[in-house]
């Protein structure tokens, strides 16, 4: 059993989703909720167990059906991918908890869809094969389409239509890119591709370059990089906040795929194609930070503001991908975990706040005060401090680390001003948001009915997400060591190739 552990984070959510569709869970709401939460806890525990195993014993390569790489499909559990899997499972657990007080019954099949989404995301993180990555992308996308329509209204239909069509075009481009790369390289296994890429000659180099840059288009669409980010604010702001919180991991799938493909395949050892995407990534990332910060300043409600915060964080992450250096990748991983948790928490907070403010909802306008100003205010200030990057929370550590890794190169001249001014813009926007949400009241407060209060489960979910930020500072030492180890492993391409192609279960 234990040698199959690398496949469990993919199989368990699938099992959970199927169980949730079957009669006892399909009919009774309490049973469905309990099963969903229990299965999320099991998935999270297994992910953590996998992380510990990989940390102790080195990467696990799991050949599905015992078909060896490069011919079969492999799952590769190295430090980077298991970190992402743990993050996803944890996020899914908090979402399952949060939704279990009523949000899940506003439409059908909420819990199974959450587990299918986790199946797709975990699969995309673990797979060592590009075509398999495409398949898992589709799995997570179709679950996300349905989740986006959960508790549907007009705005959701409009946002969903655009989101679905854009992603379908993205899938076609992905397939064309895979076709080109397969035609040139004769393989789709990531490790094998990185071997073959360096041996390319003649016109094949240009074909591979076209394929690789088409992949960049796809990942930029998933990750919401500048020219292709326009779908994100609308989609995330019109989805239910609990769904948007879960979507916080989806842009990170795009960033993760960029990190894998442009470090391992088109990285240092790629011969004529080494670092080919770097200039594109760098320019677009800087522009994304700028546009995201402008979006944050212009946002009229808290959900749209958070959606634009996601765009800013994607820009920062991609800028670090472009640097392609061990220390930059380690900083990227730290910032990625931090920003996912905080953005998810902010979406959930936006839901609680808008629920308690009545008609004004989460618009940044004077209106009714919230029912629990102390609790929500405290959560908001923690989230805001973390996301802006003020001491003493994880955002600050992440920011200092990012600035430090960019210091040595001449890139600092561009990156530092842009990033620091963007952070300042975030600070201004969040201060304004907090002031108008909690302090500006239009009329005398009537007493809030008790049912307005946040339910214990919702508070637990939000606090669990927010607790990540101080914990990442308190346990900063071991976490930093882990991130550096993961980044070193990713950049050690020959080691990766050897484990995948010569090892295997």
């Amino acid at each position: 059993m234990i040698q199959h552990i690398a496949s469990w984070p993919v199989l368990l959510p699938m099992l959970a989703a199927i169980i949730l569709l079957l009669p006892p869970c399909g009919k009774s709401i309490p049973i469905r909720r309990v099963v969903s939460i229990v299965m999320s806890i099991i998935t999270a525990c297994v992910s953590v167990a996998l992380l510990i195993t990989v940390y102790k014993n080195g990467p696990i390569v799991y050949a599905i059906g015992d078909w060896q790489a490069p011919f079969g499909i492999v799952l590769v559990a190295d430090l980077l991918s298991v970190l992402m899997v743990v993050l996803t499972s944890f996020l899914a657990l908090t979402v399952a908890l949060y939704s279990s007080v009523g949000d899940d019954e506003k439409g059908s099949f909420f819990h199974p869809l959450v587990h299918f989404l986790v199946l797709g995301v975990n699969g995309a993180f673990l797979t060592g094969d590009l075509f398999n990555l495409f398949v898992f992308f589709e799995v997570l996308l179709i679950a996300s389409y349905a989740l986006l329509m959960h508790a549907g209204d007009k705005h959701k239909t409009r946002a969903a239509l655009q989101y679905v069509i854009l992603n379908l075009i993205g899938s076609s481009v992905f397939l064309i890119a895979l076709g080109i790369l397969y035609g040139v390289l004769g393989t789709l296994n990531i490790a094998d591709m990185s071997v073959k890429v360096s041996q390319l000659q003649g016109d094949d180099v240009f074909l591979a370059k076209i394929g690789g840059l088409l992949l960049l288009v796809v990942f930029a669409l998933k990750g919401a990089l500048l020219p292709l980010h326009l779908w994100l604010p609308n989609t995330y702001a019109s989805a239910m906040p609990v769904v948007a919180a879960l979507f916080a991991i989806m842009t990170k799938v795009g960033v993760y795929a960029m990190l894998r493909v442009y470090t391992v395949i088109f990285g240092e050892n790629a011969g004529p194609l080494n670092h080919m995407a770097q200039p594109w990534l760098w320019g677009l990332a800087i522009a994304t930070i700028v546009i995201g910060a402008i979006g944050v300043l212009a946002a009229q409600d808290l959900r749209k503001l958070t959606a634009n915060l996601v765009v800013v964080s994607v820009g920062t992450l991609v800028a670090l991908v472009a640097i392609q250096h061990v220390s930059a990748t380690a900083a990227l991983l730290y910032y990625l975990v931090h920003s996912t948790l905080v953005c998810a928490a902010l979406f959930l907070l936006a839901d609680l706040i808008s629920h308690q403010r009545g008609k004004v909802a989460d618009r940044l306008a004077p209106g009714r005060g919230v029912a629990q100003p102390v609790l929500l205010g405290a959560c908001f200030i923690v989230a805001a401090l973390a996301v802006v990057g003020m001491p003493p929370l994880s955002g600050f550590v992440g920011k200092v680390w990012i600035l430090k890794t960019t210091l040595d190169s001449e890139r600092a001249l561009i990156f530092w001003p842009v990033y620091l001014i963007a952070s300042f813009a975030l600070l201004v926007a969040l201060t304004r948001a907090g002031t108008s949400l909690f302090w500006e009241r239009k009329h005398q407060d009537r007493d809030h009915p008790v049912e307005d209060n946040a339910k214990p489960m919702q508070v637990i979910a939000v606090i669990a997400l927010l607790a990540g930020s101080p914990l990442m500072v308190i346990f900063g030492g071991p976490i930093t060591e882990y991130m550096i180890a993961a980044a070193t492993q990713l950049h050690d391409i020959t080691l990766g190739i050897n484990t995948v192609l010569k090892g295997g279960l």
Binding site: F131, E138, M149, R158, S171, G183
Partner: protein, 115 residues
């Protein structure tokens, strides 16, 4: 054969992209379908176009690359599911938004004009 095949793919992609850029959902769905046909043909050609070769490995020294065929099969299945979803969504959008524009011009502006 290569010329014919390549122009087929090219024409399909051109038509698909033209239709994708239309404002209404039905042409867009048609465009998506055309694009996915083109993609399937293209993926198939990734294993090189050959004739008179065995389909299955092991029956002869010379065989066609089986992997692109598997890829195409997967792509077709996924493409079907996604197209079905987008068709249903387009119908839902027609009902919810009162028109079939992709960016969903709200009904209000139309009804005002009529008044």
């Amino acid at each position: 054969m290569e010329l014919l095949y390549a122009s087929c793919v090219g024409i399909l992609v051109t038509c698909g992209i033209y239709l994708l850029l239309r404002a209404r959902t039905f042409p867009v769905v048609l465009g998506l379908t055309m694009l996915s046909y083109a993609v399937n043909l293209f993926l198939f050609s990734a294993g090189r176009l050959t004739i008179n070769k065995a389909v299955v490995l092991g029956t002869g020294a010379d065989y066609a690359d089986p992997l692109p065929q598997a890829l195409v099969l997967t792509a077709i299945v996924i493409g079907f599911a996604m197209t079905a979803f987008v068709v249903i969504l387009a119908i839902r959008g027609r009902a919810d938004l009162g028109n079939d524009h992709v960016d969903g011009h709200l009904v209000k502006s139309n009804s005002k004009e009529q008044k």
